[in-house]
C-alpha cells in the first residue's frame, strides 16, 4: 500500500464499515420482526409488484366465493318452490285425466272444481313467494306481489273463487356475476316460469303497405331491433326473426290485407316496446301508446296467450259447465305444457348451479395456489434470516473488538 495510514483514515474506514454492517443488521431484524421480506418496493421491485397482483387477486376470489354462495342459496330456494309447483301440477293433471273420462254427477264435479280452485290459489301463493323480504318471481319489480288475483263470489255457496290472475311484474331475469366477465341468470321472471302456452298476437287492423317513417328501435323480449326509414313489413319481420328473441314475426295476407302477427316459440309473455322516439309497434296496432310492458298490448289486438292460471281458470269453468271435451283436450294439453315449461326451467337452473359449483371449485384451487405464491413472494424465510443475523452479529462483534484493540495504540504508548 502506498503512503502511510493516518489515524484519522483508520477511524474513518472503521466507521464506514461498521455503519454498513449495522445497516444490514437492521434490515434483517426488520425482516424477522415484521415477517415480510420486503419492507419497501425498492428492496425488490419485481417481487413487490407481483405480491400486489396476488394479494388483489386473492381478495377478488374471496369476494366471488361470497357471491357464489349467495347465488347458490337463491337458486336452491327457487328450485324448491318450482318443485312444489310441479307437485301441484301433477295432482291437477291426475284430476284432469280423471274428470275427462267418465260421467260424473254435479256434486262430484263441483267438488273437483273447488279442489282446482284451492290448488290454483296455492300455485298463486307460490308465485307470490318472498325471498329475503322481496317478491321472488316478479322479475326486478319488487313493489308488489307479481300475481294479482281477482275473485268473484259464488251466489249459491257464498264462497270466493278466482276468475283472473294478472301478472304485474316485469320481464327481467336476475343476473349475478360469478367470475371475471362470467355472468349467470339466477332467476327468471314469473311470466316465463309460470306460463303454459305460446302467445299469439294478431292486430285487428291490417297494415298493408306500411313502411317505417324514421329510424328507431323496437325492443322485443329485451333485445333491441333497429328499424331504418323505409323498412317494409317483410323487412321488419325478418329483422325480428333474426334478432334471436324467442319470437316469430309473420306477415300474412288475407283478402289483399296484410296483417303483421307475432308468435312466441316458447311459453312466455310477450314483451314489446318502442324506443328511441319511434312508434312502429304502435302504428302496427300491436301495442297501446303510453303504457309499459308487459301489459301494454293493444286492447284491440287479438291475443292468445296462456299463463298456467289462465288454463286452470278455464279448467274450473269447464268442470262447472260440464265441458268434458275441453278438459280432455286443450286443458290437459295446457297442463302438460306448463309442466314441461317448469321442468325446463328447473333443468336450466340446475345447470346454472352446477356451473357455479365448478367455478367455486376452480376458485378454491386457485385460492390455495395463489396464497402459496403470495407467501413465497413476501414472507420472510425465517431460517435464512436467522442465519444471516447470526453471521452479521458475529462479524460485527469481531470488527468492534479489533477496532477497540488496535486503534488507540500509537508510538506514544511506547516512548518513555
Amino acid at each position: 500500500m502506498l503512503g502511510n495510514v493516518s489515524q484519522v483514515s483508520m477511524a474513518n474506514q472503521f466507521t464506514f464499515n461498521t455503519k454498513k454492517t449495522e445497516n444490514e443488521l437492521q434490515k434483517v431484524q426488520n425482516q424477522l420482526s415484521s415477517g415480510m421480506k420486503i419492507a419497501l418496493p425498492s428492496d425488490d421491485p419485481v417481487s413487490a409488484v407481483n405480491y400486489m397482483d396476488y394479494d388483489s387477486r386473492l381478495k377478488e376470489i374471496q369476494t366471488y366465493n361470497g357471491l357464489i354462495q349467495n347465488a347458490t342459496a337463491k337458486v336452491d330456494y327457487i328450485d324448491g318452490k318450482l318443485g312444489s309447483a310441479t307437485e301441484i301440477l301433477q295432482r291437477l293433471r291426475e284430476l284432469a285425466v280423471q274428470m275427462a273420462n267418465g260421467i260424473y254427477t254435479d256434486e262430484v264435479r263441483m267438488n273437483a272444481a273447488k279442489e282446482v280452485d284451492e290448488l290454483m290459489k296455492e300455485l298463486v301463493s307460490i308465485g307470490n313467494s318472498y325471498y329475503k323480504g322481496e317478491p321472488m318471481f316478479g322479475g326486478t319489480f319488487v313493489g308488489d306481489v307479481p300475481f294479482k288475483e281477482t275473485y268473484m263470489t259464488d251466489p249459491k255457496t257464498g264462497e270466493e273463487y278466482l276468475v283472473a290472475v294478472k301478472y304485474i311484474g316485469n320481464n327481467q331475469s336476475q343476473i349475478m356475476e360469478i367470475e371475471q366477465n362470467e355472468k349467470v341468470a339466477v332467476n327468471h321472471p314469473g311470466n316465463q316460469l309460470f306460463w303454459a302456452k305460446n302467445a299469439l298476437l294478431i292486430p285487428s287492423m291490417p297494415s298493408t303497405g306500411y313502411t317505417a317513417q324514421g329510424d328507431s328501435k323496437i325492443v322485443v323480449d329485451g333485445l333491441e331491433v333497429e328499424i331504418k326509414t323505409g323498412d317494409t313489413l317483410d323487412i321488419i319481420a325478418k329483422k325480428i326473426n333474426d334478432s334471436g328473441a324467442a319470437v316469430k314475426a309473420n306477415v300474412f295476407t288475407q283478402n289483399g290485407a296484410s296483417y303483421f302477427t307475432l308468435e312466441t316459440t316458447s311459453p312466455h309473455q310477450l314483451s314489446l316496446m318502442d324506443t328511441n322516439g319511434g312508434a312502429v309497434l304502435q302504428n302496427l296496432g300491436i301495442i297501446e301508446p303510453g303504457t309499459q310492458p308487459p301489459n301494454n298490448l293493444a286492447p284491440s289486438a287479438k291475443v292468445y296467450s296462456g299463463s298456467i292460471f289462465d288454463v286452470l281458470i278455464d279448467f274450473r269453468k269447464a268442470l262447472v259447465d260440464n265441458n268434458q271435451f275441453d278438459i280432455g283436450g286443450k286443458i290437459l294439453g295446457g297442463i302438460d305444457m306448463a309442466m314441461d315449461n317448469v321442468l325446463k326451467y328447473r333443468a336450466s337452473l340446475g345447470a346454472v348451479e352446477m356451473r357455479m359449483q365448478t367455478v367455486a371449485d376452480r376458485l378454491g384451487n386457485e385460492e390455495i395456489y395463489i396464497s402459496d405464491i403470495r407467501s413465497k413472494m413476501i414472507d420472510t424465510d425465517m431460517t435464512k434470516a436467522m442465519i444471516d443475523m447470526k453471521m452479521l452479529e458475529f462479524s460485527h462483534d469481531v470488527a468492534l473488538n479489533l477496532g477497540a484493540r488496535l486503534m488507540p495504540k500509537t508510538l506514544l504508548d511506547f516512548l518513555r
Binding site: 418496493p41 425498492s42 329475503k132 326486478t140 319488487v142 327481467q172 356475476e177 328511441n276 322516439g277
Partner: protein, 633 residues
C-alpha cells in the same frame, strides 16, 4: 579566514531550523482531527556556502558549508486525487438527494402489506359486489359509501403529502443556493488573502486548507472544476461559466418560475440558466420536477379516470328513489360555464373550451368495419410540433382504428365505453403543458367520427373541434351526457363522493334502464331489484380504460409502484456505489495528507536529537572560545 563565531552561528542556525521543525510537528499533531487539514512538512536546505568565486576569495580550501536553513514549509498534498474526489462527490450528492426523496415517496405509497390506495380500492370493489347481491339493501349501500370515502380520502392524502414534499424540496433548493453563494464568496475572499501572502513568497498552508475544504463542500452541492494553473487567479468552473474567478464571484439566483407553480429555477444573475451537471442541487431539482411531479401526475391521472369512468356508468343507472343522471364522485369542472369555455391565457376573455372526454352516440362493436376511409387529425403532441395524423381504411375494424390511435402520439386515448360507444379521452400532456386533461384537437376527413360513431357533426377542418375555439362543443352531435369537461386542476386533491350520494344512499344507481327517447340516455328504470348497473360498475374493475397505459386501475397502480420501486433501488445502489468510491478516494488522500502519529513522533525524535546536537554544538564552541579567551590571562 573564517569568522570566530562561525561555529556558533552554525549551531544557532541548526537550533532555528530544528525549532521550526518541532513547531511544525506540534502543529500537525494539534490538528490531527481538523477537517480538511493536510500535514505540513518542513523542507530544509543548506545555507549559501562560502566563499563565492570573486577577487577577494581568501586563500583557503572551500567551499565551506554554512549550516541549515528552512527553505519552505509545504503541505503534503496530491492535487490529482483532490480533483477526483470533487468529481465523485458530485455524483454522491446527486444520488443522495434522489435517494432521500424517492424513499419518502415509497413510504407514502405504503406498499407492500399496509393499507394503501390499492387495498382501499379492493375494498370498494367488494362493497360494490354487496350492492350487486342485494340491490335493495340499504346497509350494503351505506357500506359502499364508506368504502368509496376511504378511497377518496387516501387519494387526497397521498396527493397532498406529495405536494407538500414538493414544496419542501423547493424551500431546500432555495436554502442550498444561498449556501452555495456564501461559500463562493468565502472562497473569493480567501483567494485575495492567499494572493497577498504568496506575493511575499510565503506558503499560506492553512489558508490553502481552508479553501480546499470549502471547495470540497461545494463539490457535493454542484458539479465544479478547479483551474489552478494561474496562481494569481484560481478559477472554479460551474458548467462552463466561472463561479469564482480570483477575487470575483458570480452568485447564483433562484428565480421563481410562474409556469412551474412558482417553483424556482437556477440562473446566473444575468438570467441565463445554469448547467448544473450532477450534485445535490441537481438531485433536488430532479426529485422535485421529475420524481415528485411524476408521482403527482400519476395520482391525478388515476383520480380523473376513476372519477370519470364511475360517473359515466353511474349516470346511466337509476337509484332506489328513481333518480338518474347523478354523479357518483364529485366532478368539478375547470370551466365555470356550462359549455366548457375557459380563459386559457388569463386575459379575462374566454378563449377556448376545456373538454376531457367525448363519446359518440352510435353503438359499435370491436369487429364492426369502419366502412369508410380517411384520416384523423389530433393536432400537435408538443408545442410547434407536427400534427399527429392517424389514417384508417374502410377494411379496418373499429378495434384496429382504436389501436392505431392509442399507439400514436395523439393526445387522446380511444376506447368503447360500457354501452359500446366510441369514446375519446384526453391524456396527460406529454410535455407537461397546461391545460392538463384537455383534448386539443379532433378532426376527421372521412365519415368515421361523423356517421359511423356519431361524434362529430361534420368532416374536414372547418368542422373540427379545437380547444382554442370558443363553444367548441357545438361541433359535436353527442348529447350533453356523453361529454365530460376537464376537471379542476389537481383532481386528486379534491376527489370526493358526490354530495347527493352522501345525502341519500338510495341515490346509488344500481338499477339499469332503457332508453326510450333515443338520445342515448336511459330514462326508464328496469325495476328496483335490478342490479345491472351495479354490475356494470363492478365490471369497471377489469376495464382497460386507464388512459396512460391502457391498463386496469389495479395494473396502473402496480406499474406506478414498480416504477418508483425501481427508481428508488437505482438511487440507493448508485448512492452506495458512489459512497464507496468517495470513501476509498478519501482513504487515498488521507494516506498522503493525513497525520500519522507514529510518523510525527518519529520525526519529533529526529528533530529533538538534532536540536540537542545543535545545542551541544553551541556549548562546545562556547567552551572552545572560552579556552582561546583564557589563553591571555
Amino acid at each position: 579566514m573564517l569568522s570566530t563565531f562561525h561555529g556558533v552561528e552554525l549551531g544557532k542556525k541548526g537550533l532555528n531550523a530544528h525549532q521550526v521543525g518541532m513547531d511544525t510537528i506540534a502543529h500537525n499533531l494539534g490538528n490531527i482531527e481538523t477537517p480538511g487539514f493536510s500535514k505540513q512538512k518542513v523542507n530544509n536546505t543548506t545555507f549559501h556556502p562560502i566563499y563565492e568565486p570573486s577577487a577577494n576569495h581568501p586563500n583557503q580550501a572551500g567551499q565551506i558549508g554554512t549550516g541549515v536553513m528552512v527553505e519552505n514549509i509545504e503541505r503534503v498534498k496530491d492535487a490529482l486525487i483532490d480533483d477526483q474526489i470533487f468529481y465523485e462527490k458530485g455524483g454522491l450528492g446527486f444520488w443522495d438527494a434522489k435517494q432521500d426523496y424517492l424513499h419518502k415517496i415509497e413510504m407514502l405509497m405504503n406498499e407492500p402489506g399496509k393499507p394503501n390506495i390499492r387495498t382501499v380500492m379492493d375494498a370498494m370493489w367488494e362493497g360494490i359486489t354487496k350492492v350487486v347481491q342485494d340491490p335493495t339493501e340499504i346497509a350494503a349501500r351505506f357500506e359502499l359509501i364508506e368504502r368509496a370515502k376511504a378511497v377518496t380520502d387516501t387519494v387526497n392524502h397521498v396527493y397532498n403529502s406529495l405536494s407538500k414534499l414538493q414544496e419542501d424540496a423547493n424551500m431546500l433548493i432555495i436554502d442550498k443556493v444561498a449556501e452555495i453563494n456564501s461559500m463562493a464568496s468565502e472562497i473569493a475572499k480567501l483567494n485575495v488573502q492567499i494572493v497577498k501572502s504568496e506575493a511575499l513568497g510565503d506558503n499560506p498552508n492553512d489558508l490553502y486548507d481552508k479553501r480546499d475544504l470549502l471547495i470540497d463542500k461545494l463539490s457535493k452541492l454542484i458539479d465544479i472544476k478547479v483551474e489552478r494553473k494561474n496562481n494569481k487567479e484560481v478559477i472554479i468552473y460551474l458548467g462552463s461559466e466561472n463561479l469564482v474567478q480570483g477575487p470575483i464571484f458570480n452568485p447564483l439566483v433562484a428565480k421563481s418560475n410562474p409556469d412551474n407553480k412558482g417553483f424556482v429555477d437556477i440562473q446566473w444573475e444575468d438570467g441565463r440558466s445554469v448547467r448544473l451537471g450532477e450534485g445535490y442541487l441537481a438531485g433536488l431539482l430532479s426529485a422535485r420536477d421529475e420524481d415528485l411531479q411524476g408521482a403527482m401526475n400519476n395520482i391525478n391521472s388515476l383520480a380523473v379516470n376513476l372519477t370519470d369512468a364511475f360517473n359515466e356508468v353511474h349516470k346511466d343507472g337509476f337509484g332506489l328513489n328513481k333518480s338518474t343522471d347523478v354523479n357518483f364522485f364529485k366532478a368539478i369542472p375547470l370551466s365555470p360555464y356550462a359549455d366548457g369555455g375557459y380563459d386559457f391565457n388569463n386575459d379575462g376573455v374566454v378563449d377556448g373550451t376545456a373538454l376531457f372526454k367525448v363519446s359518440g352516440t352510435e353503438v359499435l362493436k370491436k369487429e364492426t368495419l369502419a366502412g369508410t376511409g380517411g384520416y384523423l387529425n389530433f393536432g400537435p403532441s408538443k408545442a410547434n410540433g407536427p400534427d399527429i395524423v392517424v389514417q384508417y381504411q374502410p377494411t379496418d375494424t373499429i378495434q384496429a382504428v382504436m389501436d392505431k390511435i392509442n399507439q400514436s402520439e395523439a393526445g387522446v386515448t380511444a376506447y368503447l365505453n360500457h354501452k359500446g360507444q366510441l369514446s375519446l379521452k384526453a391524456k396527460f400532456p406529454s410535455d407537461n403543458s397546461f391545460p392538463e386533461f384537455a383534448i386539443r384537437h379532433i378532426e376527421d376527413s372521412g365519415n368515421l367520427l361523423t356517421g359511423v360513431a356519431g361524434l362529430l357533426a361534420g368532416s374536414g377542418a372547418q368542422n373540427s373541434f379545437d380547444y382554442k375555439n370558443v363553444n367548441g362543443i357545438a361541433k359535436f352531435i353527442s348529447p350533453a351526457n356523453n361529454i365530460s369537461f376537464t376537471p379542476q386542476t389537481n383532481p386528486a386533491g379534491w376527489m370526493a363522493v358526490d354530495d347527493m350520494i352522501l345525502a341519500d344512499p338510495q341515490t346509488i344507481a344500481a338499477s339499469g334502464g332503457i332508453d326510450t327517447t333515443g338520445d342515448g340516455n336511459p330514462n326508464m328504470m328496469n325495476g328496483l331489484a335490478d342490479n345491472r348497473n351495479a354490475m356494470a360498475l363492478m365490471d369497471l374493475r377489469y376495464a382497460k380504460i386507464m388512459v396512460e397505459s391502457q391498463s386496469t386501475f389495479g395494473e396502473f397502480f402496480q406499474s406506478i409502484i414498480g416504477d418508483f420501486g425501481e427508481r428508488s433501488k437505482t438511487a440507493i445502489t448508485n448512492f452506495d456505489k458512489n459512497d464507496g468510491v468517495v470513501q476509498s478516494l478519501q482513504n487515498l488522500k488521507d494516506k498522503i495528507s493525513g497525520v500519522n502519529v507514529d510518523e510525527e513522533l518519529t520525526k519529533m525524535l529526529q528533530f529533538q536529537h538534532g536540536y540537542n546536537a545543535s545545542a551541544k554544538l553551541v556549548t562546545v564552541f562556547d567552551r572552545m572560545l572560552e579556552t582561546i579567551l583564557r589563553m591571555g590571562a
